[in-house]
């Protein structure tokens, strides 16, 4: 099964890690990504620019409305994601727990709806 691991954290707290903290975390991410690539679970993954760069699009009655900012203002913001392949939810949550960001934020684990037909 494929799972999307959505990495949420508070951007302000993230900044507060400082230069050395960020460098350390970045190294840990490199290490983690390498490990799931080698394990054959990695399908895709990226870091996102801050939520302040987000735009939200809605189409209502054929009219497109674009607004500034993320879909919802929350304490923690979506900061990145991994798309992985795992045997089941237990394997997916175990991988999510190894994401460095899990220690300061939260990882939402979402099964991918397979395309049918």
């Amino acid at each position: 099964m494929n799972y999307l691991l959505l990495i949420y954290s508070n951007e302000a707290e993230f900044k507060a890690l400082g230069e050395t903290g960020l460098k350390k975390m970045s190294d840990e991410y490199t290490e983690f990504t390498k490990s799931i690539v080698q394990g054959g679970q990695f399908k895709a993954g990226d870091r996102l620019k801050p939520a302040s760069t987000a735009s939200t699009v809605r189409v209502r009655n054929g009219k497109t409305a674009i607004t500034d900012g993320p879909f919802a203002e929350t304490r923690e913001q979506l900061g990145g994601y991994y798309l992985i392949e795992a045997k089941n939810l237990d394997e997916a949550t175990a991988i999510a727990a190894r994401i460095p960001g899990a220690r300061i934020g939260s990882i939402e684990v979402r099964p991918i709806w397979p395309l049918t037909g």
Partner: protein, 415 residues
Amino acid sequence: MSASAAGNVEEVFRREAGRVLATLIRLLGDFDLAEEAQQDAFAAAIEQWPAQGMPDNPRAWLISAGRNKAIDRIRREVFFREKIFDRELAAAQCDVLAEIDESDEAIFGDDRLRLIFTCCHPALNAEAQIALTLREVCGLSTQAVARAFLVSEETMAQRLVRAKRKIRDAGIPYETPDPAVLDQRIDGVLAVVYGVFTEGYAATAGAQLIDVELCAEAIRLGRLLDTLLPGNTGVMGLLALMLLHDARRSSRVSDAGDVVLLDDQDRSQWDQAEISEGLTLVDKSLTARGQVSPYAVQAAIAALHVRAGDKQATDWPQIVGLYEVLLRLQPTPVIELNHAVAVSMVDGAARALDLVDSLAARGRVTQYHLLHAARGRFLQQLGRIEEAREAYGTALKTAALEPERRFLAARMAAI
């Protein structure tokens, strides 16, 4: 079918239902399909057993009948909706046809554990875990589970459907967890079993104080876990705790449905068989290797109450000591409150009142009626009558259960 033959068949169904379902879920990889298959198998048995006689191994018969009925169902489905589910169904069918030795007791035990761990998976919400366990592991009807939760049957049916859908769609495995995470996951299972028990022991709202059926189901689950995971300190501790509470069940409420405090309970009514089983398990859990289980410590406290011939003989200093151990393992407000009550028996009401006031000052439990009831009692013992009356009044306002409300009102009136 003669009445006694019908009785036998029902007996077999009751005994085998849990095992048959647990194995069918593994073979078919789907809860709903397995439930239908189980019902089909039971229906076939009612039809065939009276004429052909009960098979030598009714369980294997039921599983293989259920499996075959499920294959028929799958074939029909495939015929109608070939393209969409092709691959999944082919896989399921392949599993179904895999040969297994159905007489192997170990496999059945494993399947029941798989079912328990799946129903108690932390990715399901706490209420869904309890509901699923009662429905799938204990085999309670949806109606009975709905009654336990004080919701309509329809609401409960929807909740169960949602939980089963999450199991399927999120890929919650039908597996006993790896040894690396087993201990953590057992804690979750024990929380569910204890949740069933406490739900039964003190129904959270309404007029009836004890739901006997839920207590019995929880104890049955505890015994099952003790068989499936022998020597586990947490399982033994929890089973001991439930038995020692349950032994006093009948004396906890008067004939009129009123609360009877431990001191005033008729000890001759206590269930001696449950007590001796509970006492043996406490000792086994506390002396076994492995981490000390908070359930075992609570059971040890219950054991001291039970062992004492009367309230004067109760070993309060040791109870205070055990609460201090428990507070290190599980620092919760409820345990702090119980600790304070025990302290009042050793060091007096003044020190106990300090502890309760410090707990209340941290503001986490101001809505908890027993905190105010305890304050009232300590204040009364200290002769601070007006404040005591006020504390009982607050307790009365926050208590939800009718019998507890009557008890508090009586306390207040007696000042």
